[in-house]
Symmetry: C2
DNA sequence: CTTGATGCAAAGTGTTTGCAACTTA
DNA sequence: TAAGTTGCAAACACTTTGCATCAAG
């Protein structure tokens, strides 16, 4: 799984005449080690633990490459900062976002995807990707707004 | 329709012991006049045309109130800035977003909504609101990526 | 008149960029 | 050794906030 991602990333770089630097390697590794969703800032933290010299700028620049190469997926759950998660080898899924505790729960639903595609055909719109987020209260946070 | 929104907003303010100032009234009116989706910056422009003294800070502060009162709905279609649209008296809808020309197309699909609610029940998650965005190419922009 | 609202400019946030020094292929 | 990459700090875009002054109820 790590190897696959490494291959994906290095082939992406090669094909674009970009270089696989030690920093990029470290950031890739850390992003693969992270579980769940993480922010650029968190990834910077992980990466600095592995190599103290890695800078914020390099993390942001590498994050863009990891996203473009298909290693990571980028999400905007609101709150101003983007979150990332591993994309390679995973099935597509959407998210519940708890507006009380921030918990993110994943789910897959093919019937919804099918209806989306149908809707796209109806509107003569070529869907490339989509984002479905269901906001509310997770089972722990109950159903009473703050 | 304008009266309804004015009532909604003034009752919201009253109930929170907030004041209906001339600036708030002007910003409300301008946001109701605007068609489609607009940004805070655009609303500031419209509002300044009506009352030159209205400031950016007041527009942002009022936008929050308009959102909370249910007069406006806030959307994040990416690109860093939030967009707003009238909410009052409109049926819920979701959006296609063209990644070439930025065009936003609205659609309604009850079957998708139903499946979302079903999924929520399945996960013991109390859905309060959701966001579904289908990104891709509109009929004008064809289907060939840039 | 009391409490909330305003405008201004400064401060925040998260992210991006210019540049000289440095690596990778 | 040519071309891309890095760290740093400054620049950015959007939004929020502190504060003295002002106005609504």
């Amino acid at each position: 799984m790590v190897q696959e991602a490494e291959k994906l990333f290095s082939e992406f770089l090669e094909q674009k005449d970009l270089k696989l630097t030690s920093q990029r390697r470290a950031i890739l590794l850390e992003s693969l080690k992270a579980r769940g969703h993480f922010s650029a800032e968190e990834l910077l933290g992980f990466s600095k633990a592995a190599d103290r010299t890695i800078s914020k700028a390099t993390v942001y620049r590498t994050l863009a490459l990891l996203k473009d190469s298909g290693v990571l997926e980028e999400h905007d759950f609101g709150g101003g900062k983007k979150l990332y998660e591993k994309a390679q080898g995973r099935k597509h899924h959407d998210h519940f976002v708890c507006i009380r505790c921030g918990k993110i729960i994943e789910f897959e639903n093919n019937r919804i995807e099918n209806l989306q595609n149908l809707e796209g055909r109806k509107q003569h719109f070529k869907i490339v990707y989509h984002s479905l987020k269901l906001f509310g209260f997770c089972s722990n946070c109950g159903s009473k707004p703050a």
